[in-house]
Amino acid sequence: MSRSRPTALSAPLLSSLSPPEPPTRSHRLRALAAVCLLAVLVVRIDVRTSGRTRPPTAVRLSAVEAFQAASGGPAARWAPEAVRAAGHALRDALLAWSREESRLLPLRDFRPVSARLTAAAAVARDAARLGGERRARAVEAAEKAVADARSVEVQAAALLAATSLPDGQREHLQRARLLVREAEGLLREDEVEAAGERADRAAADLRGALGPPLEAAGRYTSREQIASWRRWVEETRAFSRSTGQTVILVLKEKNRLVLLQNGSPVRTYDAEVGRNALGVKERQGDRATPEGRYRIVKKRDHGQSGYHRALLLDYPNAADRARFAAAQGRGEIPKGEQIGGLIEIHGEGGRGRNWTEGCVALSNPDIDDLFSRVDVGTRVTIVGGDGRDGAFSDLLARVGGASNAAP
């Protein structure tokens, strides 16, 4: 058999049986390009669907706004530690943002950054809420302190309206009242802590200033003193009942003059007493209205009195003189001082406050009416009060100073 040459029919068969050719350089490059293209496609799809490379701008803005609201609001003063924590959280979140932004685009993942910004916003809102709560509590405390100071001021104002005070006491009270105004102003200016401190100081000063006059007013709630006054009133009423005579009762702290006939009240007049309404007359010039049992010794009609009309009383009586002498003997009243006199029931009143130098003042129509109903010799009993109510016993009840109070 002879060897034959490969024919056209056997060439493909032969080639299929021969080993494959190794890949050429261009094949390799094409394969690499295809893989890169595929990888880019995958990354692109991933980026599009997950959004991880998209910076969460809105979340960042929200976090920044939350921090600014906290640090620019009440929390900066009332919850500084919480604001600092919010600041740290925001800084950490912004750092994470910057780091992510620095990476190659396909490698970025802002999702954790978004979570950190959301958390930072929450910390800031908590700080704002905490600051708001603390401020609200402080405002409540300051308002309470101001209200307390105001209530003490009302007592001081009532005292000032009812009686005059020695210059030093009045100045002390007025300075304390200015402090109350300052506390109110500080509260308006949102200086809450300062307002509370000022109000506390004002209340303490007011209580201190009220101390001496309230001590002097203590006799208006003293059992012994009230019992004495009630006894005088009852004796005067009994006298009017038994004799049918007209008598006058003056109750100083009630600012009232009562006309009794046959033991029963027939007229009641508003009466204003001495500027030193708290005190009882001891000496000339003390501006106090005396307390005791007196009589009308003279009626001064128009033209005879500088106060429209007047009823002169027999102050000082024997009891007053004895008391004055005893006080001088004890050294309580200097030897050169006089007991005083010219105590009247007169007109030119109706001023709504205690203003006389010791007399009892009625309005002109009232003194006209009284003038026509009384005579020389009419009994006049002047007492501090009846222990039930009145300017000073009410004040003492409000401040709790009635330590020896009558029932």
């Binding site: 921090f67 750092l95 910057s98 100045e171 300075r175």
Partner: protein, 201 residues
Amino acid sequence: MKRIFVLPALAGLALLSVSCAKEPTDALTAAQSALAAAKTAEAADYAPAALAAAETASAALQAEVKAQGEKFALTRSYTKAAELATAAKAAADKAAAEAVTGKEQMKTEATTLIAGVRSSVAAAKAALAKAPKGKGSAADIEAMKGDVTTVETGLADMDSALAAGKYKDAKVKAQAAKATLDKIMADVQAAIDAKKGAKKK
């Protein structure tokens, strides 16, 4: 042949990276100083919102600088940091300016109020000097004169508060004093009116 150009290209790239990799120290310092100045100007009291914005801008700047610092030197870029530093300084300057303005306004308000108290004290003294001295009113007038003196002695505290920069305190003291003096003037006027009314009778 191509290799001749590779080395210079690489060197050029390296140079470029280094120039962008330098921290903008001057701008950073300026931004920090501006923020400190805003706090010194009491922006926390007088421009809290503006200070908060400045602090936020500073936080963003610090974050960017730190992030760049953590990167490989050749890949760093402080361009954005430089921009943030400019913005942070501007925000801090704004806060400081607002604080100065706010403080100046408060100072002016307090100064005006204190001057008003001085005028009211003088007016009250003049009114009391001419107040009708009717029956029993002399003691009232003396008491009111004492009240005016009490207010007048408070002027020293107002001046001290103003000098110490405690403008709100000076303001509320002046307002309290003015309210007291207004009451005194009203009482004096009421007494004058009452006297006129009595004369007409």
